[in-house]
């Protein structure tokens, strides 16, 4: 009796629900081009990406654009994912790259168009009250004055609580460079806040109110 073999290509089949798939399975499925993996990757990692982008850029709208760009690049470049179990780090490396490009672009646009009024787009911060929104807006104006690298290092360290080593690995920098960048950013921000009596008073009143 002839043996009929299927000519269907082999492919990864994850047992059960996509949400039960491990990061490694998800990475493999992405590499294999499975459609479900795309939605699951977004579902699993988009909140993390959006949160980081929110904090780095201080703008929800820009963060949305960045998240879309990150995942677009991730989905296009899945073939370069060498270790599927490190999918999270893989995505984070795109986050840092896209954020850096965005921050540099922001600076470039400002230089090109000579419009220093900083980031109207930063007005859409999602703080609870008007005072906090104003405070955050002014803080983001200061953050905007930092270089893209210093700003990223500062935010990843202080708000994302990443270790110096993690930041160095993600941003492809030496540990000493990260430390230097961190100190530089902190010093400058402290100085600028102190030099802005309105902002300092604002911070004081907010702290007293709490």
């Amino acid at each position: 009796m002839p043996n009929h073999l299927s000519h269907a290509p082999l492919a990864l089949i994850v047992g059960g629900h996509p949400r039960n798939a491990s990061d490694a399975d998800l990475g493999l499925a992405l590499i294999a081009g499975h459609d479900w993996a795309l939605a699951e990757t977004w579902r699993r990692f988009a909140p993390m990406v959006l949160r980081t982008a929110d904090r780095v850029l201080g703008s929800r709208n820009e963060a949305d654009d960045v998240a879309q760009e990150v995942f677009y690049q991730v989905f296009r470049r899945t073939s370069t994912l060498r270790d599927p179990s490190s999918l999270r780090s893989f995505i984070y490396s795109f986050v840092v790259r896209v954020l850096k490009t965005e921050l540099r672009g922001r600076k470039r646009r400002r230089l090109l168009f000579f419009n220093p009024p900083p980031a109207e787009e930063m007005r859409d911060v999602a703080a609870a009250d008007v005072e906090s929104r104003e405070l955050l807006y002014r803080f983001n104006v200061l953050l905007d004055r930092l270089s893209a690298r210093d700003r990223l290092v500062f935010v990843l360290r202080r708000t994302e609580s990443m270790t110096i080593q993690e930041i160095a690995a993600t941003m492809d920098l030496s540990i000493s460079t990260v430390k230097r960048s961190m100190a530089h950013a902190s010093d400058r921000l402290d100085r600028w806040i102190a030099a802005d009596p309105g902002l300092a008073a604002f911070v004081d009143s907010q702290r007293r109110a709490r």
Binding site: S6, A8, P9, A11, L12, I13, H17, P18, R19, G33, D35, W36, L38, A39, E40, W42, R43, A46, P47, L50, R51, D54, R55, G58, N61, D64, A67, Q68, F71, Y72, F75, R76, E121, D124, V125, A126, A127, A128, S132, L135, L136, F139, N140, V155, R158, T159, S161, I164, K179, A183, S186, L189, D190, I193, A194, L199, A200, V203, D204, Q206
Partner: protein, 438 residues
Amino acid sequence: MRTPPDEQPVTPALSALVDLQRDAAKPRSATELDRGLATVRARVAADRSRRPILVRGVVLGLAMGLVALAAPRLWRAVRAPAATVAVQRIDGGALLDGGYLAQSGSGGVEVTFNEGTHFKLAAGTRGRLRELRRDGAALSIENGAASFQVTPDPSRRWSVEAGPFLITVKGTVFDVTWDPATERFDLTLRRGRVQVSGPVVGGGITLNAGQHLAVRLPLAETIITETANEQSAGPDDKPAGEAAPPPVNPGASTPGRVPAAKRPGPRAAAEPAAPSTPTAKQPDARGWQAWLAAGQWDRILRDAERAGIPATLEQASSEDLFALADVARYRHRAELARSALLAQRRRFPSSPRALDAIFLLGRVAEVGDGAARATALYDEYLARAPYGPYAGEALGRKMILSNEHGQPTQARTIARQYLLRFPSGSYAAAARALTREP
């Protein structure tokens, strides 16, 4: 704020600001996440539908030539950047805090922008100017109807939200209506091209001039019809990719009706996508997917007829067959749609498209073969792809058919199953109504 151990502490003021910055990042809603996923999907799909490398090289060469020719003009454009978009005039109302457009009379509100774009909210319509950017604006319609006339400019970004739908526009003229009570969305495109994303239309659907899109969310039904348009050229006469980026291909069910896209679209969170069976990477030999994305439906039909329908059904790739089935449904050619889907199942039995074809055959059967045949096909789909992209649709349609054909008890049982699996799915409202009945 926790101070990292290997650094000197920061001042209290900076510490307070960092805390504030951290706490301000609020998570996105499911709708916002779905919309983001839909946009990414549309971009990825547009990428996949691009031509092979050689063709791309030729196109790139031509494009470089054109850029060289247009360089002086580009230089002028860079030196004199387009003016920032601003509201120039508001007639019949006023702009309130939060961007709300309040009407002062009974004639609706008209808003004119400095670069010529103009829109009008019909009387009684609740709308909002959600965001005004340097390069465009985002508007939202919460309830009612509005007409838009957007000045063509590729450097501008205009978008309109109507309920859960997002319309991305370049230069175009269209009318949009959203009724939250009946969850009905209507868009009539008079000129240009727009991309619509949202529930039921999947990852995105491109409309060409003269087309009317009607979506009824409770039925998970999308109907595209042709209307008279302001342009003499039809969809097939327009150059591909003229304005909007080519989106993912919308999937249709019965002729003229479009259920969720073949790929899990914005509703994926509610009705999760499935781990698929082996992906058959069939070459898009005829390039029909790209034509489909560009709205060149009749071109696909003409191409198939020129080659002969039987030969096409035997020789076309999996992707081409699916494109053919789509356009056949759009053009109300049920028999051709059925033949293409059956060919898909027969020739590519282990591909994910073959599974999709089972569901879509069910939708075709609802019109022709009757409810029993359709239900059998939905059962087959649910058995073979319980977490497939159409699982929610299949269960929902089965529930509706049972109810419509005198089986209320069975319909209620299915409704309970549906609500357990897809509490925010397209059929959730119908399922809740059924479970409330005695």
